[in-house]
């Protein structure tokens, strides 16, 4: 049957043993990509002819911003899966990925703000993109706060899934509205779009760094899910065996 993998995915035990061997390779590959991309960007890529060396922030800013958004989509999808199919893995995934997404959004915000000071002369402007990342950060914080506010696991699952799903519907609306709002009455004083076309020397390290970020984060997510599975399934015998076999 075609849906077998999908049902198996719902089983924590199956997932645990499948994903166990993936964690280290992902983390390893990811950190190699990260280091190569970042060192390349920091030391070897040419300086931008307009912005000079501040441009180098892009190698960390863009991957973080992309991940912040990707993580949210994953979150929303998981919430939907949980509400519809009650799949046990979904809340585990949500719990694992929410803090990571929040940190990514924070990195995007902070690096963006730092970048803004020399380029725009201010740490913050109420630009469309900036605002939507800020809102995204709040969504993450809300979800994390909600999840940790419940003592009961089942309740936490349901409540968080609700917010994730509703947030998923809302995300494009936020983005659209913010873009529209800002272009309607402010005029594109500081447009992110008007950038010089990048040369290959510039975007190649960016690509490497983006891929590195994704792999590394995937590794982290799997790792966090492993802890979460162990904790939630501690009554089952396979967890007992797993824990006792590994030792301290």
């Amino acid at each position: 049957m075609r849906w077998v993998w999908f049902h198996k995915l719902g089983s924590p035990k199956w997932f645990f043993f499948q994903s166990k061997s993936w964690v280290l390779p992902l983390l390893g590959l990811g950190s190699i990509g990260l280091i190569v991309g970042l060192v390349w960007g920091l030391a070897f890529a040419p300086a931008d002819y307009q912005q000079g060396d501040t441009f180098r922030i892009i190698y960390i800013h863009v991957p973080a911003a992309m991940l912040a958004q990707s993580c949210y989509f994953a979150l929303g999808a998981a919430g939907f899966v949980y509400l519809v199919w009650q799949m046990k893995m979904a809340p585990i995934f949500i719990k694992a990925i929410a803090p990571i997404g929040a940190v990514m959004a924070l990195i995007a915000l902070v690096t963006g703000a730092i970048w803004g000071k020399p380029t725009w002369g201010t740490w913050w402007i109420w630009d469309a993109r900036l605002t939507s990342v800020l809102v995204l950060f709040f969504l993450y914080m809300g979800i994390i706060a909600l999840q940790s506010a419940f003592d009961d696991v089942m309740l936490a699952n349901k409540a968080t899934a609700v917010v994730c799903v509703v947030g998923l519907i809302n995300l494009p609306i936020i983005k659209y509205s913010v873009v529209w709002w800002n272009t309607l009455h402010q005029g594109a004083t500081f447009s992110l779009a008007e950038k010089p076309a990048m040369s290959a020397e510039m975007w190649l390290p960016l690509l490497v760094s983006v891929v590195g970020f994704y792999l590394f984060i995937a590794g982290l997510v799997l790792w966090r899910m492993q802890s979460e599975i162990l904790q939630r399934e501690h009554r089952s015998s396979w967890v007992k065996k797993e824990v006792m076999d590994r030792g301290l």
Binding site: L139, A145, V178, L184
Partner: protein
């Protein structure tokens, strides 16, 4: 329990606590009065900002009104009774939103002429503002009620709820104020109004179901 008796009791209780509604209304006036008094009373400053100020004030007071929507019901066990009443929980939630909306938004609309006069809002734009409120506020209530239901059983009640729902309010505010702005600039504003309506309809569909799930999760 039937749907109509539920609605009736909701209205009655809201009436008994007219206090809260009044509170929200006073807060509304307070925020609006803040700008002429605290910042700059000149029409040149106020007139273009009026729509935005009124909307911000409205959002804040709606937040205050929604905040405790389920608290009392949770503590006295009525929420349990709703869940075990055999009636459709989403429908009950819909009725609850409607009752709350009526009790909060109507008084708000009633004092609107006064406030828009205070902020020198051009009278041509006044009706657009009213329209944005009518079309946009239901979605604020629908979304807010999900948050309120999610957090009733929690220790960190109101703040968490606000944190959860305020991000969802941003698009509504943006569309509403840009409609007012566009009207003020003589541009077409029907697109924004349509978006407001669309969001209200979308949340009308999504919210009762989500609120019901949240309520069921809370009563256990």
């Amino acid at each position: 329990m039937t749907y109509s008796s539920f609605l009736q009791s909701e209205f009655l209780i809201l009436w008994r606590r007219k206090q809260d509604v009044l509170n929200a209304l006073l807060f509304f006036i307070l925020v609006v009065a803040l700008f002429p008094i605290g910042v700059d009373p000149s029409p040149a400053f106020l007139a273009p900002a009026a729509g935005g100020i009124i909307w911000c004030a409205a959002v804040l007071s709606i937040l205050m009104a929604i905040e405790g929507a389920f608290k009392e019901d949770y503590l006295d066990g009525s929420l349990e009774q709703l869940v075990t009443s055999g009636l459709s929980l989403p429908l009950l939630m819909l009725l609850k939103v409607l009752a709350l909306w009526g009790c909060v938004v109507v008084p708000l609309l009633l004092i609107m002429p006064l406030l828009s006069e205070m902020l020198f809002l051009p009278s041509t734009v006044f009706w657009v503002l009213i329209l944005t409120l009518l079309l946009g506020s239901p979605s604020l209530f629908f979304i807010g009620l999900i948050g309120s239901a999610l957090t009733v059983s929690l220790r960190q009640g109101s703040m968490l709820m606000m944190l959860l729902i305020l991000p969802f309010y941003f698009p509504v505010i943006i569309f509403a104020t840009s409609a007012v702005h566009a009207a003020q600039a003589g541009l077409s504003y029907s697109g924004s109004l349509a978006m407001l309506l669309a969001m209200s309809l979308l949340s009308l569909v999504v919210s009762p179901v989500m609120t019901a799930i949240a309520v069921k999760a809370s009563v256990n």
